[in-house]
């Protein structure tokens, strides 16, 4: 297998997985976050705690769930608690070290829109809405975001602010009385971004192999800041790729049709 025989999606999931550690307690969303968290669990962070908002604590799914409440999550969990308890004790209670979010729109301060495209009262596209995200964003100790880059998604101004990132930058979180760190990491199909320590503007700190600054800028509506110490993201290892692909294959098979589970 040649060094670059992987897709941008695979790079994104694998780069995100590397940011997680054995002692993290992750509030996992569906889609790319779920893949990233489970690759981490299946590679370098076997003791990571994965929590899904359906109430499952310490899950270890064999296939990726389609929803946040597939039976697989409950069957493999340390325990499963009511949803009210999940949001009160575990999220609001400050037990989550990393909350993972995706987005339809994101701005330069990592504020997120998952509510509407267009006007709220007369939307061009009505998106699903916030779900758990508004309080995941404020109560998790830090937030990791994964999404693919595009001008439609990386916008100058959000149509609606669903989940607060760094607001208008600087100490905006602190001024609102939000004690947590907010988005500390944004992982896309092209790059890794981190907030500037002072301004909190999201800054590209690492380009994925084969990507250029120009390509990054072409997919973002604002003038992108690049770190003075710009790195290249290490390519996926054989192990990372094979774990991810096996997971995806098991998942695809499981979701393709009716199956007799062996619980």
């Amino acid at each position: 297998m040649s060094e670059l025989s992987f897709t941008p999606d695979e790079m994104m999931a694998i780069a995100a997985s590397r940011a997680l550690t054995n002692t993290d307690v992750c509030f996992v969303g569906i889609g790319p976050p779920s893949a990233a968290c489970n690759i981490a669990r299946l590679t370098h962070a076997p003791d990571i705690t994965l929590i899904y908002e359906s109430g499952t604590i310490g899950t270890a799914p064999d296939v990726l769930p389609l929803s946040i409440g597939d039976g697989e999550l409950c069957d493999t969990a340390l325990t499963t608690v009511p949803v009210t308890e999940m949001f009160r004790y575990w999220l609001q209670g400050g037990k989550i070290t990393v909350g993972f979010l995706g987005a339809a729109q994101i701005d330069r301060f990592a504020n997120i829109n998952t509510t509407v495209i267009g006007e709220y009262d007369n939307p061009a596209v009505r998106l699903p809405g916030g779900g758990g995200a508004p309080e995941i964003a404020s109560s998790s100790q830090q937030i990791y975001i994964t999404m693919k880059q595009s001008k439609r998604g990386f916008v100058e101004k959000l149509d609606f602010l669903t989940s607060f990132g760094h607001g208008e930058g600087g100490d905006h979180r602190a001024r609102l009385g939000i004690p947590t760190n907010g988005p500390t990491l944004l992982i896309t199909d092209l790059a890794i971004w981190r907030p500037d320590p002072v301004t909190k503007e999201m800054t590209v700190v690492s380009l994925h192999a084969g990507t250029t600054k120009e390509r990054v800028q072409q997919t973002v509506s604002w003038d992108v800041r690049f770190s003075d110490d710009l790195q290249e993201t290490p390519v996926p290892t054989e192990e990372e790729l094979s774990v991810l692909r096996a997971l995806k294959a098991r998942t695809a098979a499981a979701h393709a049709g009716k199956r007799l589970e062996t619980a």
Partner: protein
């Protein structure tokens, strides 16, 4: 006091046009059979509440039975958007839809407050977001000790809550197990609760701290095997993920939707659900 009724009779007895109804189930135990019965009976002008209004609210809204929807995530989880809900909000088809939009934390707390007999829920939420600008039912309250501003939302107290559960005993005590969601809260907060179950057994024979709804908290119990399909019932059958994926193109087209509803809901009865979970049974 729990009465054992047919689903047809239970819906007829307790749900009226204009009521506030919650059909709860957090991915697991979604009361599809009960929602289909409501659609068949054409009970309309409903205010429906649900954290995650997935397929069944897409169907209730698409059939024009819903006046107002209180929710926190209107998507087909892992698949995409709810196309009938979108059509109602974006285009007013088949009728306009009022929405009251919250976050999951808010609605979970609002059910909890309803079960706890309180007028409102107090939590830390909505910080920095635009939702309070578009929802006047999000207010602030100040902690009298720390001075911190907390969020407050009205508690939810449905006229009727519908849930699906694993089983009941002959007295009408009901067992929930696995991902229990907000169903206990939704039942305790409601004036009436209608519970569909996989089966009725002599003894529940449950763990000591099991999630049980005593018979006197439930109005009606209806035996509907498979009644959660394409959602699932812990220990009985698995989630039919393929059906969720297949819903997307059906819901995308008004005529395909209406034709599907005619064939799979309007001309059917609750007994078809047992057939739908064949092949999904969980080996114990």
């Amino acid at each position: 006091m729990a009465e054992f009724l047919s689903l047809n009779d239970a819906v007829k007895t307790y749900l009226k046009s204009g009521d506030t109804a919650a059909f709860e189930g957090f991915t697991h135990l979604i009361p599809h059979a009960a929602a289909h019965e409501v659609i068949r009976q054409g009970i309309d002008e409903l205010t429906v509440v649900r954290m995650t209004p997935d397929l069944i609210y897409d169907q209730l809204v698409g059939m024009g039975l819903v006046k107002r929807m209180i929710f926190s995530y209107a998507g087909n989880p892992g698949v995409g958007l709810l196309r009938r809900v979108r059509d109602a909000i974006e285009n007013g088809w088949p009728r306009s839809l009022e929405i009251e939009e919250h976050s999951h934390a808010a609605l979970a707390n609002a059910y909890e407050a309803g079960a706890a007999g309180l007028p409102c829920a107090v939590f830390r939420g909505y910080l920095g977001t635009d939702l309070p600008k578009v929802n006047s039912n999000i207010k602030n309250i100040t902690c009298p000790f720390s001075g911190e501003q907390l969020a407050a939302v009205p508690s939810i107290k449905p006229d009727v809550t519908f849930i699906h559960a694993l089983r009941a005993d002959r007295k009408g005590n009901v067992l929930l197990e696995g991902i229990v969601g907000v169903q206990k809260e939704a039942v305790l907060a409601a004036k009436h609760a209608i519970v569909t179950v996989e089966e009725v057994v002599g003894e529940l024979d449950t763990p000591i701290n099991a999630c049980i709804l005593p018979h006197w908290t439930v109005s009606a119990i209806c035996t509907v095997p498979g009644g959660a399909h394409p959602s699932y019932t812990q220990g009985y059958y698995a989630r039919d993920n393929k059906t969720y994926i297949d819903w997307d193109p059906i819901a995308a087209d008004r005529e395909a939707f209406q034709s599907w509803m005619h064939d799979h809901v309007l001309t059917q009865g609750p007994e078809v659900f047992a057939e739908r979970v064949k092949g999904l049974e969980v080996a114990l």
